[in-house]
Symmetry: C2
Subunit: 87 residues, 2 copies
């Protein structure tokens, strides 16, 4: 499935969330990640994210779409992660 993940966590936890998220998804901008991921790997990501987060203060929102082509992506301005064009 195709996922967009956005998090808003206390600055003390940003580095850990960034490191974790990079292992499962592609960074595209700020605290925004996207990518294709299996249900098992997504579950793993959420479990590990919960261990990092303070759920009374932090927020992780995950948008899931069963098919990548159900989502059109348009970039206005610069692409902060042009790398993903090469993949």
């Amino acid at each position: 499935m195709y996922v967009i993940a956005v998090y808003d966590v206390n600055t003390k936890r940003v580095a850990k969330m960034l490191k974790l998220s990079r292992r499962y998804l592609n960074w595209i901008q700020n605290s925004v990640f996207e990518g294709n991921i299996t249900p098992v790997k997504l579950k793993e990501y959420k479990i590990k994210a919960r261990k990092i987060m303070n759920e009374d203060e932090d927020s992780l929102i995950i948008f899931q779409s069963r098919h990548e082509d159900w989502l059109e992506k348009e970039i206005i301005g610069i692409d902060k992660n042009p790398l993903d064009i090469i993949l």
Copy 2:
């Protein structure tokens, strides 16, 4: 159509982008917005965003899905904009 918009703009322009984005979509977290919007209104939003942005430095990414139910949304931790539950 259903849209998720995320922007990463120079701090000088954040306030203007926030104000503009709030007129077209629902704020959910950081610089992340979502909502149902007509093609005409989306076009209007993009034109106005371009006038605010420096496209050599800033980035606005828009994910479009023809149907809201093609996207599942899951929140882990707190919902930074509980208002949208009341809408």
